[in-house]
Amino acid sequence: MGYSFDFRSVSFGPLWEGLIVTLQLTVAANIIGVVLGFPLALLIMSRFAPIRLPAMLFVEFFRCTPAIVQIVWFFYCVPMLFNVFLGSMTMGILALGLNLMAFNAEAYRAAIQAVPREQLDAGIALGLNPLQRTLYIVLPTAVRASIPVLLTNGIGIFQQSALVAIVAVQDLMYQAKTLATETYRPIETFTIVALVYFAVSFPVSQIVGYLERRRQLMMS
């Protein structure tokens, strides 16, 4: 069977709008994940079990269940459980943001544990209180060390954001599905959409590779 390709039938207007929504979701989820991931990492590392255990449960739950289950759960169950009705965009951002927060917390935890003990001792010697030590010693070092992982997780959430199409948020994937059904051109549409996702992720993953190589050079 000869398949004749026809890329002209793919209209870029809806795809462009979808990409904007996807990028909005990604940026908003990343803001939640990067900012709140750090305090969450501190909670996981707390010596006080009633604080540590719920935080660990939260993180493990998000890391050990499929993202699609989390998103569907969020969209169906949160309105029923808490009797709140948020826009689908807000729900999407919250679901993706909480997921990213759990993954980033692990990244921060690894980086915090890698902060040399001497630096904290020096902080104590200088008479800094625990809050100051966290803000001025742990935070800058740990954040810098975890940047490659944060970027990888960020790009991961960009890809996971395609899942919100299933619960009818009108992102890139949703527009692609609609377009493919309307035009009967699935090959052209999904190929273009795959290329769009790739065009955004690939440069970022190259930057991550570059940062990691530079870091290894600095370490050696």
């Binding site: 739950f61 395609a162 996702y197």
Partner: protein, 221 residues
């Protein structure tokens, strides 16, 4: 509104069937994907520029696009291009195997890289043919080093397998969503589905940590 978890019990057989589909799919794709990944990992470190280029494009493409898009592509486009009807299971297996191959090839590549060049020099000095170098020197060490990361790749695959529900394969997620739509009890059903995934994936992630410690201890000698 009162929550009634006994609803879930009535559908336990359906859920068990869905879970079996999820596990079957995961196991098939773990075996196929790891084998594919090993050869792709070798190809990426090969001397031939052509092999390197082809394998890099494959890996970067599959790591750079959402698995959902890959699934849709394989479900809707591959049959059109090949001109043959593919069963649901076949498409799911192809999609997840290609994904697993891409992520495990990175794992293998990293572990191949960690084998020092002096070992290859020793092989050359001993006059071992290329095939024996691969099977008796490189493979055992690379696999040992790769095991912890491979295990966590398997956990990722187990989680990603839930995506096949979006293209209508009757896995755990699909069955769960169906039940929740038909009974109008999403809270109970979806929570139980999430818990089932968690109960399987969580011990596996703990096992990864344990194995990691073992392997590190073994390599440190």
């Amino acid at each position: 509104m009162a929550y009634d978890f006994s609803v879930v019990l009535r559908f336990q057989d359906a859920l068990a069937l869905g879970l079996w589909m999820t596990i079957k799919l995961t196991l098939i794709c773990v075996v196929l994907g790891c084998s594919l990944g090993f050869f792709i990992g070798l190809a990426r470190t090969s001397r031939s520029a052509f092999l390197r280029a082809v394998s890099s494009i494959y890996v970067e493409f599959f790591r750079g696009t959402p698995v959902l898009v890959q699934l849709f592509w394989i479900f809707f486009c591959l049959p059109l291009i090949l001109g043959v009807e593919l069963s649901n299971l076949a498409s799911g297996v192809i999609a997840l195997t290609l994904y697993m191959g891409a992520i495990t090839s990175e794992t293998f590549r990293a572990s191949l890289k960690s084998i020092g060049p002096e070992q290859l020099d020793a092989c050359v000095a001993l006059g071992l043919p290329r095939r024996v170098q691969v099977t008796s020197v490189i493979l055992p060490q690379a696999v040992l080093r790769a095991v912890p990361t491979l295990l966590s790749n398997c956990v990722s695959l187990f989680k990603e397998s839930a995506l096949v529900s979006a293209v209508g394969m009757a896995d755990l997620m699909f069955v769960g969503q169906n039940i929740s739509n038909n009974t109008a009890r999403p809270v109970e059903v979806l929570t139980v589905v999430a818990l089932i995934y968690f109960v399987i994936a969580f011990p596996l992630t703990r096992a990864v940590t344990l194995v990691e410690r073992r392997v590190l201890a073994k390599l440190a000698i």
